[in-house]
C-alpha cells in the first residue's frame, strides 16, 4: 500500500512513463489544490512534463476518472478541488504489447 500522505497533503501516483519522467512512483503534494492547477503545479516541479506526459494522460482522483479543465484561470463554484488525503493518479496510455 502507498503510505498515507502527511497532514495537509494528497498523494499523487505516477504510472508508466509518468513514473520514469519523475523518477518516482508516488509523492505527497500540498492540499487543497484546485484540479485546474494540477498540471501547472507539476510543470513547475518537472520541466516539460506537460507536453511529454500530462497532455495525453488520464487523471483519476480516488480511483475515479476526472476531466482536467483546460482553463487554469477561471475557477467556478462547482470546480473539483483535490482534498487532503486524496489519491490522484497520472495514467499515460501504454501501447506496447
Amino acid at each position: 500500500m502507498t503510505p498515507k500522505p502527511p497532514k495537509g497533503h494528497f498523494n499523487i501516483l505516477y504510472f508508466a512513463s509518468a513514473g520514469s519522467y519523475t523518477s518516482k512512483n508516488v509523492e505527497a503534494l500540498p492540499a487543497p489544490l484546485p484540479l485546474r492547477k494540477l498540471f501547472a503545479t507539476l510543470e513547475e516541479r518537472y520541466k516539460d512534463i506537460r507536453a511529454s506526459v500530462l497532455d495525453h494522460s488520464l487523471v483519476t482522483i480516488n480511483l475515479t476518472y476526472v476531466d482536467v479543465p483546460e482553463d487554469e484561470a477561471a475557477g467556478e463554484a462547482d470546480e473539483i478541488v483535490i482534498q487532503e488525503g486524496d489519491e490522484v493518479a497520472i495514467i499515460p496510455p501504454v501501447s506496447s504489447g
Binding site: S23, Y46, S52, L63, Y65, I91, S95, S96
Partner: protein, 464 residues
C-alpha cells in the same frame, strides 16, 4: 436454459427445445465438447448455453505477441468456435521470453502460423483463420467485419486508434490491453455496442473517449526502448481473454434491438485495470488498481454525436493514423561542429589526438551494464533531466549535474547515448545550464550513439 439431464453418454441436450434452433443454442454438444469443456461449463453462469455461445462466436485477435499469445491460448482452450489472428511479423528469439505461443524451433516462421500450430495442439475443435499481414486502414474493416469481438493485442498507438475507430463503426466490442516494461492496462470498450453518434444515455466509451491524444513518439521511453517483463504482459493477455469470454458467454456482444440498456446491460461500469510491478522493491506489494472511467463522450471524434468518421474515409486514408501518432518531435540536430561520428571519435582516441576529456554515457544503467566505451561515466538521461530541472527551479551549482571527474571547467565533454537522440538533448541541456562557459569548453555529441559504435567501431559490442 439447461434442458434434460446432460450425461456423458451422448444424450445431453438430446431433447433440445426448439426455440433456440436458429441461433445454434439448442444443439447438443458432441461428446468431445462435453468432455473437453466440462470443467468450465459447471461454473455458475456458464452452463451449456454459455458454452454454445462461445462455440458459435468468432473472435479476432490482432497481434500474436506478448498479449496475443496468452490471450489466444485461453480463447482457444475455452472453445471459441472461430479464431482469427492478424500479425505480419515472424518469430524472433528475443520474443520467446514472453510470447508463449511460439517456440525455439519455430524462429523465422510467421507468428500467425506458429501460434495457430500451438493452438491446434491445445484444441483442434475451433476453426483458425490466419491473416498473416499487418492490419492497415485499407484492410481493417474487411477483416474486423467477419468477427463478433475484437482483442487489441498490438504494439503501437496508430493501430490502436485504427482498431477502435473501425470497431465503433462496425459496432464490435473491443477488449484492449497494453503493456510495457513494468505496467499493464486493460479496458473493455464499445460494450455493449451501440451505433456511432448515440449519446443520449449511458453508453460504453471507445479508445478515443479514454485516450484523446497519443503519446509523443519522442517521449522518454523511446531512446531506452523500455523493455518488458514476461509475466506482466502475460497477466494482461490472460485477463483480456477472461473479459472476452465473459462478454461472449453472456451475449453482451450482441447489439440489442433498440439499443436499450436493460438492467443487466447497465451493470457494466467502464473500468480501466492497471497492473504495476516493481522490480526494484522486491518486498513491495504488486498492485492492481481498478479505475472507474467515464462513458461515451458527447464530443468524441469517433463515436460522439457529430462524428464524421466513416469506413470509406478510413479506407481512403482519412484520418491519417500515422501522422496523428507521430507528432513532430523536437528536431535534434546540433550544428556539425558539436558532433563527431563514433568512427572519428575512436580514430582520434587511438591516435592520441583527443585532449583529456570526459565521456558521459546517458543510457539507463541496465544498458550500460552490458558494456560501454572505455572510460565512460554513466549518467542516465532521466536522472540528468531531473537534476537539470531541479537546478533551474531551486538554483544551485550547475556543475553538480556532472560527474566529479568533469569539475574542471575546461575539460571537454563528449556525450553518447543509445541511438543518438538523448545525447544531443543532453548537449543542449548542459549548454543551457552554462556549462560550456560561453564556448570555452567543448561539449560534443557522438553521432548515432552506441548503435553507431557497434556499426562503425566494434561489431562485437553487446548492444540492446
Amino acid at each position: 436454459m439447461e434442458e434434460g439431464s446432460g450425461n456423458r453418454n451422448g444424450t445431453n441436450g438430446a431433447t433440445a427445445a426448439t426455440g433456440f434452433a436458429q441461433n445454434g443454442l439448442s444443439r447438443r454438444l458432441t461428446d468431445d465438447e462435453f468432455e473437453r469443456y466440462s470443467r468450465q461449463m459447471i461454473v455458475p453462469g456458464m452452463g451449456k448455453e454459455g458454452q454454445l455461445r462461445l462455440i458459435n462466436s468468432r473472435v479476432l485477435i490482432i497481434g500474436a505477441g506478448g498479449l496475443g499469445c496468452p490471450a489466444a491460448q485461453y480463447i482457444a482452450g475455452a472453445g471459441v468456435g472461430t479464431i482469427g489472428i492478424v500479425d505480419g511479423d515472424v518469430v524472433e528469439v528475443s520474443n520467446l521470453h514472453r510470447q508463449v505461443g511460439h517456440a525455439t524451433s519455430r524462429i523465422g516462421m510467421k507468428k500467425v502460423d506458429s501460434l495457430i500450430q500451438h493452438l491446434r495442439g491445445l484444441n483442434d475443435l475451433p476453426a483458425y483463420i490466419s491473416h498473416p499481414f499487418h492490419l492497415t486502414p485499407h484492410n481493417a474493416a474487411d477483416i474486423i467485419s467477419q468477427y463478433d469481438l475484437v482483442m487489441d493485442c498490438t504494439d503501437n498507438p496508430a493501430t490502436r486508434y485504427l482498431i477502435s475507430d473501425v470497431c465503433v463503426l462496425l459496432c464490435k466490442p473491443l477488449v484492449s490491453a497494453a503493456s510495457v516494461q513494468k505496467s499493464g492496462q486493460l479496458i473493455v470498450l464499445n460494450c455493449p455496442p451501440v451505433p456511432q453518434g448515440l449519446v443520449d444515455g449511458k453508453y460504453a466509451p471507445c479508445y478515443r473517449c479514454c485516450f484523446k491524444k497519443p503519446p509523443p513518439p519522442g517521449s522518454m521511453v523511446s531512446c531506452g526502448e523500455a523493455g518488458i517483463m514476461g509475466p506482466v504482459v502475460g497477466m494482461m493477455g490472460v485477463a483480456q481473454a477472461g473479459e472476452a469470454i465473459k462478454i461472449l458467454a453472456s451475449a453482451l456482444h450482441v447489439q440489442s434491438e433498440n439499443n436499450e440498456s436493460t438492467p443487466e446491460r447497465n451493470l457494466l461500469q467502464p473500468t480501466l485495470l492497471i497492473y504495476t510491478y516493481d522490480l526494484e522493491s522486491a518486498v513491495g506489494p504488486y498492485s492492481f488498481r481498478a479505475l472507474k472511467m467515464g462513458g461515451r463522450r458527447k464530443n468524441c471524434f469517433a463515436c460522439g454525436e457529430n462524428s464524421t468518421l466513416t469506413l470509406e474515409g478510413i479506407r481512403a486514408g482519412n484520418p491519417n493514423y500515422e501522422q496523428f501518432c507521430s507528432v513532430p518531435t523536437p528536431n535534434h540536430s546540433l550544428p556539425p561542429e558539436e558532433r563527431i561520428t563514433a568512427a572519428a571519435y575512436h580514430a582520434a582516441k587511438v591516435r592520441g589526438e583527443l585532449p583529456e576529456h570526459i565521456l558521459i554515457d546517458t543510457r539507463e544503467k541496465e544498458h550500460f551494464s552490458f558494456g560501454s566505451i572505455e572510460g565512460a561515466v554513466n549518467v542516465p538521461f532521466g536522472k540528468l533531466l531531473m537534476k537539470a530541472a531541479a537546478i533551474k527551479r531551486d538554483g544551485g551549482s550547475a556543475s553538480e549535474i556532472l560527474p566529479p571527474e568533469a569539475c574542471k571547467p575546461d575539460t571537454p565533454i563528449f556525450v553518447v547515448c543509445r541511438r543518438g537522440l538523448d545525447s544531443q538533448e543532453t548537449v543542449e541541456k548542459l549548454k543551457e545550464l552554462g556549462l560550456d562557459y560561453g564556448g570555452k569548453r567543448k561539449i560534443m555529441d557522438i553521432k548515432g550513439g552506441m548503435k553507431a559504435w557497434k556499426e562503425e567501431v566494434d561489431p562485437t559490442f553487446p548492444y540492446i
